[in-house]
């Protein structure tokens, strides 16, 4: 039996059926779908299992009276996959609905843009051939017929946003967008009625189309930071190894660890929500600049003696041509591509702006237990002991709830506990096997204390379990192993100029050897959650950008307080909830990859912003001068959008190859370490 997790909070019940969403590790190929779904459906009681290959999530429905959630997870483990329950946030369905609405708007805008472009191209080429003014008017009216309803529908996300902003007496990106679209459409109708040569229906709808593309991908990565409210003690306090411990935590009153953690969390979370994303900062600048430029254009033309009609057309051209596509499309596109690359590297983002914050990191703080080390302890000297004896001991360990017994039980081949096994709390477990009593537990309990003698406590961080069966006995050394690649990863992180720290709640004697092996000179042990926060805040007060990597209940406030944070998927729920991203697997490598991908992505975002600046520097003077025909607007807009999107795609190509990732981290991007 593996540790009995309290999974009840993840399970949704409805009419005798239980539903659980799981994040599954180790899915790599098409065969996995069949292995998992087929394997689960063969189990009596499981009604449905559906794997979403795109996000590696598995939805399982089963009859509540036949199975438990832990049965499903252990069944998956037998099939060969490790699964972690997760709680789809309550807001997710709302967000999914909003995303679908955006996609519908996008479809409508795309349909309208294509059809209007068909008509517009005819009109433009008609200028050079023999199109009659009547035909041109007919095409303009047809364009209006498509554009007006399409804009009324597809423009809603922007109109709503603009209204909200105006009501709050603020300016956001939606205001110039809505203004530009509405003015362009209105003016085009007027122009069409007066049989004019130019109408801007295509520009208005194409603008909507590109912006909706950006809005849609932006929404896909941007998820609202979860607010931790008082009384949110619904979190299982910690991943506890035994049912008894869980009960004790949930029954505890004020002054316990979880209370302390909650209190610290509330403070830490508010302090970080002040972070302003790159795109938002640019957007703040954008709206006033565009409005001013448009207004100045109109006034300038009026003063120069142009007619009111021509002045307004020039102003509208400025509004349209300063297409915020680079802003609204390119940065979200980089984020989507980067989060895809992160996903392939085994990192799942919780917060949309995590990529940007990861890129700014110059200091990495690790927790020790469960982060630098593997979450579960392992039997270290299994190879040195008679396999038969291990098997007997491990089968006996199945009957115990002690965490060390769980480590022991992982060595078992035959998952059948012995009948009549009795656990003596705090001492061990005993059972009669083959007519002889067997004991597993503390050396004293098993009567092999003398044998333990020399090796006991000689190595810090090692716990000893004794096993005695008749005359045969053994001592097992159980300890937390470092993640396989921990030394390699910390070395390469140091190599590229990052400052590494260990802040652990564990005894200094247990932290020291780990720090020594990883070559981390700055470490502290025996810290409580408040001290961890204080240490991180001290670093941040020096102007450092801290990445916190931690997994425990006591790390949660530190995770929230740091500039950006990562948790292994095995982390306590409250730690995961406060981490910006979660990484999968037994390796530490995703931490390094995440940093490399994030830096690359941020560099691309900045490039894209510069591309946007250059584009506007060329396009705006043309618009101000009044030379923007619908044809020029269409070419400029689509050209700039395609350019920045293609540039964004580079975030994917470079990061797919692991070696190149580390090369990027160690080489080219190092000078950008402290870029603003």
């Amino acid at each position: 039996m593996r540790e009995s997790l309290d999974l009840s909070m993840f399970v949704k019940r409805e009419g005798g059926l239980s539903h659980l969403d799981l994040a599954v590790e180790g899915i790599g190929c098409a065969g996995c779908i069949r292995k998992i779904e087929g394997g689960l459906k063969r189990i009596p009681g499981i009604v449905d299992a559906r794997l979403n290959f795109t996000n590696r999530r598995l939805a399982v429905d089963w009859q509540a009276d036949l199975l438990e959630a832990s049965d499903v997870i252990s069944a998956l483990e037998r099939i060969g996959y490790r699964a972690h329950p997760f709680e789809p946030e309550r807001a997710e369905s709302d967000e999914a609905r909003y995303a679908r609405w955006l996609l519908k708007c996008l479809a409508v805008a795309g349909f309208a843009a294509m059809n209007i472009m068909l008509l517009s191209v005819s009109v433009w080429s008609g200028g050079a051939t023999d199109m009659t003014p009547e035909t041109r008017d007919f095409f303009h009216w047809l364009s209006a017929l498509i554009a007006l309803p399409a804009a009324a529908y597809a423009g809603q996300p922007f109109f709503h946003g603009a209204l909200r902003a105006i009501r709050a007496r603020q300016l956001n990106m939606d205001v110039p967008i809505s203004l530009g679209v509405l003015l362009a459409l209105g003016m085009s109708v007027v122009e069409t009625m007066s049989h004019a040569e130019h109408a801007y229906f295509d520009s208005a709808v194409m603008l909507l189309f590109f912006l909706l593309c950006g809005r849609y991908v932006d929404h896909a990565v941007r998820r609202k930071r979860k607010k931790v409210t008082a009384g949110a003690t619904v979190y299982a306090g910690s991943i506890s190894y035994s049912g008894a411990l869980t009960m004790r935590v949930s029954a505890a009153g004020a002054g316990t660890l979880i209370d302390e953690v909650e209190r610290l969390l509330a403070r830490a979370v508010t302090s970080r929500s002040r972070y302003l994303r790159l795109a938002d900062r640019a957007a703040r600048l954008y709206a006033p600049v565009v409005h001013t430029a448009a207004a100045l254009t109109a006034i300038g033309w009026l003063l120069a003696g142009a007619s009111l009609h021509d002045s307004i057309i020039a102003a509208i051209a400025v509004l349209i041509i300063t297409c915020p596509c680079a802003l609204a499309l390119a940065i979200p596109a980089v984020q989507v591509v980067a989060s895809g690359a992160l996903f392939r590297a085994g990192v799942i983002l919780n917060a949309g702006d995590a990529v940007e914050r990861l890129a700014e990191v110059d200091t990495v703080v690790f927790d020790k237990t469960g982060t630098l080390t593997l979450p579960q302890p392992h039997v270290d000297n299994a190879a040195a002991v008679d396999p038969d004896l291990i098997e007997t001991a491990a089968r006996l360990a199945l009957s115990s709830h002690h965490p060390l017994a769980a480590a022991m039980a992982r060595e078992v081949r035959d998952q059948i506990p012995y009948a009549g096994a009795v656990e003596e709390p705090g001492q061990g477990v005993r059972a009669v096997i083959d007519g002889v009593e067997a004991r597993l537990g503390s050396p004293a309990f098993c009567g092999v204390a003398g044998a333990a003698g020399g090796s006991s406590e000689s190595e810090p961080g090692t716990s000893l379990i004794a096993f005695a069966h008749g005359t045969r006995s053994a001592i097992f050394a159980v300890r937390q192993k470092l993640r396989g690649d921990a030394a390699l990863v910390t070395k390469s992180l140091t190599g590229c100029g990052l400052d590494l720290h260990i802040l652990s709640g564990d005894r200094p004697a247990a932290v020291a050897p780990v720090a020594a092996r990883l070559g981390i000179s700055q470490w502290r042990g025996a810290l409580d959650p408040a001290q961890k926060i204080a240490a991180i805040e001290a670093l941040q007060a020096q102007g450092r950008r801290v990445l916190m990597v931690g997994d425990g209940l006591n790390d949660a406030p530190a995770l929230a307080a740091a500039h950006v944070s990562l948790s292994p998927i095995s982390a306590a729920h409250i730690a995961q909830a406060n981490a910006d991203a979660v990484f999968l697997g037994d390796r530490l490598e995703p931490v390094r990859d995440a940093l490399a991908i994030a830096r690359r992505a941020r560099a691309l975002m900045q490039q894209n912003l510069w591309l946007a600046v250059i584009y506007n520097a060329i396009a705006v003077p043309i618009a101000v001068a009044g030379y923007v025909t619908p044809l020029i607007a269409a070419v400029a807009m689509s050209g700039s959008s395609i350019l920045v999107t293609l540039n964004a795609l580079r975030a994917r190509r470079r990061s797919e190859d692991g070696r190149r990732v580390s090369a990027t981290l160690g080489g080219a991007d190092t000078p950008r370490l402290r870029s603003p």
Partner: protein
């Protein structure tokens, strides 16, 4: 140019059909698991049933 009077509406109608088809596929959840769909087609478990 009278040919435009019925050709243009026909073109629009065809476009609208495509739009409707897309909205339908969206509603029926066909974009929930794009990668999975590409792999599921390789599975053979539907063959036995029809054989």
């Amino acid at each position: 140019m009278n040919v435009l009077v019925y050709l243009v509406p026909m073109a629009l109608l065809l476009g609208l059909t495509g739009l409707t088809a897309f909205l339908w596929s969206l509603r029926s959840g066909q974009y929930e698991d794009v990668e999975g769909a590409a792999l599921r087609i390789l599975e053979d478990d539907d063959i036995d049933r029809h054989a």
